[in-house]
Amino acid sequence: MGNIEITLNGRTVSVLENISILEAAKRNGIYLPTLCHHPDQRVKANCRVCVVEVEGVRNLVASCSTAVREGMKITTNSPRVRETVRTILELIFADHPQECLTCIRNEKCELRQIASRFGINSIQGAKTANNYPVDTSTPSIVRNPNKCIKCGRCAEVCHHTQEVGVLYSHNRSTEIMISPEYGKNLSEVGCVLCGQCAAVCPVGAIHEKDDTDQVWAALADPGKHVVVQTAPSVRVSIAEEFNMPPGSIQTGKLVAALRSLGFERVFDTDFSADLTIMEEGHELLHRIQNGGVLPLITSCSPGWINYAEKYYPELLPNISTCKSPQQMFGAVAKTFYAKRSGIAPEDIYVVSVMPCTAKKYEAIQPEMRSSGYQDVDAVLTTRELARILRHEGIDFSMLEESEYDSPLGTSTGAAAIFGTTGGVMEAALRSVYEIVTGETLSKLDFSEVRGLEGVRSASVDLKGKEVKVAIAHGLANAKKIAEKIKAGEEDYTFIEVMCCPGGCIGGGGQPYGTTQEVRKKRMEALYQVDSDMPLRKSHENPAVIELYQEFFGEPMGELSHRYLHIERAEEAEAVI
């Protein structure tokens, strides 16, 4: 692509040809407001707050949907542009409940930020906001149609990125409503609770169900021994909530922050990720050696599990019987840890900090009570944890770094990369290779399974035995793989599927502003965490080894089956 010259507010600048005016302005230091625009999505040009003046064009043009042309004369700051943008913002506000002070989104709201930037100090139009019922039907996502500004981002992510297709715009004119069909609740349709809609919503119309009160209550209860686990991806995303750049690795500050909130023990889901590899790796070997159902598909991502249950029940026998790391942690905390620390399991309260909204649903499933109690009591998303920390007045950047408690805080680099697409696969390969071949891997990085390509496949040589593996992230890609398996087109042995684009680093509960660019940075940070770890193979995790010695005996043993696995195949029959 060549460069062309344009005039931007009287200044002649050279820009790449074919980019949008919006992009050209941004690269030249001119901020233009946007609401419907999202860097990962198609151009919609719905909201019209990015309009600018182009010489020779009768009306204003949307800068997001208009490409620059040689010699184009663009004005972004004329009274005409200013008045129009202000009017459009006022029009949006007139139809928006003016509850910014009490809105969960509050200062993180893109509309509010733009309004503040433009100094909107009065809203002259008639107030037209509706009073539709708020959808609180799921344990994961709250949908408030009254706050919806009809930008269409959620519908696009639901239909195109995830291809779940439960959110779409209905009716027309002022009756327009972005919702499931017939205005149904999310629990009544095929929603998988991935929360990608909440992650892209610019305002407070779709957000995670807030469970912070539950956690406050537990922390304040002297009778509760409150422990917390943190998902691998949270350590590389939480810092963004406190104005640090994407890709900042802040494991130590995260631990310190949780400690200062009053958690008795700060543990790590990375520990149970290593445990997952032990179980899943052995399950894979068991299936290969005993003619079990293949390909084996990973089970860590509850959004993917929900999707498979609803749309591909015939694939459930392929999905690993392993619980996710979150649930393995809960089960271990209320059995092994309870026993070892001498605390009654009913007095232990397990909180998880997850990048995920579907984890909230997973935690309350009936099969997730193997300890005799709900294994994980409360699930907070990254965003909710950040809210708690802000509420508490904890200055994240000033915290002195701290370390995870043992034993459930000990982990390896293999576990850290669980947070990115391809990570579970790589972690599994490191262990399976060594277990099968009895040899030590000379090179730990399986670069062929890394990256952000939607569907990736590779062939791995397990000392003479070729194993075909595949990776998919984002449900549209998962669907492609699922269709291939159904059609019997590929002879994969092992497949990693993550519900969200990028894996957990792009989870529906991650800090706002997640884009492909940001995912890439978080992903690189996780690989950095991995390579910085002294131990990088799950089967070398001393705490996991000790756990097997003291409690479980062996992977895929009787106790592991009771606490770490669920019977998916039988459930599949029930669904069909």
């Binding site: 151009v43 919609k44 040009a45 719905n46 909201c47 019209r48 707050v49 309009v51 009306n59 204003l60 949307a62 949907s65 490409a67 005409r80 008045e83 129009t84 009017t87 459009i88 029009l91 949006i92 007139a94 139809d95 002259q124 139009g125 008639a126 037209t128 500004i149 009809k150 715009s169 009716n171 027309r172 004119s173 002022t174 009756e175 327009i176």
Partner: protein, 425 residues
């Protein structure tokens, strides 16, 4: 017959249905035969020389559009006849299709042949069931006569033409919204570029033209561009169908050569205002058109002259209001229409019209103040300046023109009580 009994493009006779036999007797399908014998470029050149421009509202040169599709390397092109006549006050396409269906079909066939399209649709609004029936029967008849379908007139050229029914959406008259509608989605406009000529129906190059435009093509090919240019003016060639309604003695469809003044249309064809009344205002171009006072009617019906005067010819609807009619209820009617028909996609059209509707209701109930009128002006500007599609932008036309030409009626509608309050404040 039109002016001086000269032969025009449509030669309207209100009662007559021109069947295939009659149509052919009068020279119908000689254009298609001629076009099939000569290189397509010659026919396109003929259209270019004739100066035919789109009659749906945008007035884009038809030959250029055809060429754009023709020169697109992509195969599987489509031709679409836009018969979603939703512009209020307009009934010209209804008339052409019910009286002269074969002229429309021949026009589509020619356009398809010249653009290199083998599949076509006539997108007819659902409110016209009888038109759909006539067109279906006519298509069948044309196919049986070898004028449509496989191997048209033994030339090896084919065109599969189907009726596609709209389902009640004004917005589908917008070409990209129409495409979305055929594709099974809501009739919402798409981002342009790409234009339909580049990537239209199912992402294939697509020629979309209005019924009247397409029905002009056979006559031009048959009689030549010289004949066509002899009607109308140098700037605007040929004729325009006018749907005349409202407070005139004689309402109905008329065909006029370009160049005639609006006043003459109203006087000559409409026989003027009703006895004892005078023409106060005229709405030109349908709901999306402007509302102008009587003194502007000396403007000739001509693209350049109208553009200069701020008049949108649009679909060619002329709706007359006499001196007994207040302006505001008529503007409110327009605003309510657009509010109902807004697809809801973009903020200025959806929310701007909603607020405009509130203010007009206030004005009509005497509850408005002058600051409401100022606000209405601001909303109107936003609707016109920033709406996503041409229809949204045009939704502000009647507001803007009435605010300009009939401002005193807005001010008079501001309640006395409210005005007092404002003065003391």
């Amino acid at each position: 017959m039109g002016v001086n009994n000269k032969e025009l493009v449509f030669n309207i006779s209100r009662e007559e249905f021109v069947d295939l036999k009659t149509y052919r007797e009068r020279g119908g399908y000689t254009a298609l035969q001629k076009a099939l014998r000569q290189p397509p470029e010659s026919s396109i050149q003929e259209l270019k020389s004739a100066g035919l421009r789109g009659r749906g509202g945008a007035a884009f040169p038809t030959a250029v559009k055809i060429e754009m599709v023709r020169n697109n390397g992509e195969t599987g092109r489509y031709v679409i006849c836009n018969a979603d006549e939703g512009e209020p006050g307009t009934f010209k396409d209804r008339f052409i299709m019910t009286h002269l269906p074969f002229q429309v079909i021949e026009g589509i066939t020619l356009a398809a042949y010249l653009a290199g399209a083998e599949n076509g649709y006539i997108y007819v609004r659902h409110e016209y069931p009888e038109v759909q029936r006539i067109l279906r029967e006519s298509i069948k008849e044309a196919e049986e006569a070898g004028l449509l379908g496989e191997d048209i007139l033994g030339s090896g050229i084919r065109l599969k033409l189907e009726i596609f029914s709209g389902a009640g959406s004004y917005l589908c008259g917008e070409e990209t919204a129409l495409l979305s509608s055929i594709e099974g989605r809501k009739g919402r406009p798409r981002v342009k570029p790409p234009y339909p000529t580049q990537s239209g129906l199912w992402n294939k190059p697509t020629l979309i033209n209005n019924v009247e435009t397409l029905a002009n093509i056979p006559k031009i090919i048959e009689k030549g561009s010289g004949w066509y240019r002899s009607i109308g003016t140098a700037d605007s060639t040929g004729t325009k169908l006018i749907s005349l309604s409202g407070d005139v003695v004689n309402r109905g469809l008329i065909e006029v050569p370009f160049g005639i003044t609006f006043a003459d249309i109203i006087e000559e064809y409409g026989l003027g205002a009703k006895p004892g009344r005078t023409v106060k205002a005229v709405n030109i171009g349908g709901a999306s058109g402007v509302l102008v006072p009587g003194f502007m009617l000396e403007t000739p019906l001509e693209y350049t002259a109208c553009a200069k005067a701020g008049i949108t010819i649009g679909s060619g609807a002329i709706f007359v209001l006499d001196d007994t009619r207040p302006i505001l209820p008529n503007v409110h009617n327009r605003v309510k229409f657009f509010l109902h028909e807004s697809c809801g996609k973009c903020t200025p059209c959806r929310e701007g019209l909603r607020q405009a509707n509130v203010i007009l209701s206030k004005l009509l109930s005497g509850m408005a103040t002058e600051s409401d009128v100022v606000l209405l002006e601001r909303y109107t500007r936003a609707i016109q300046e920033a709406s996503f599609c041409g229809l949204g932008q045009a939704a502000g036309n009647s507001l803007k023109s009435s605010l300009e030409y009939f401002h005193e009626e807005y001010l008079a509608a501001c309640g006395q009580e409210c005005r007092d309050k404002e003065e003391t404040a």
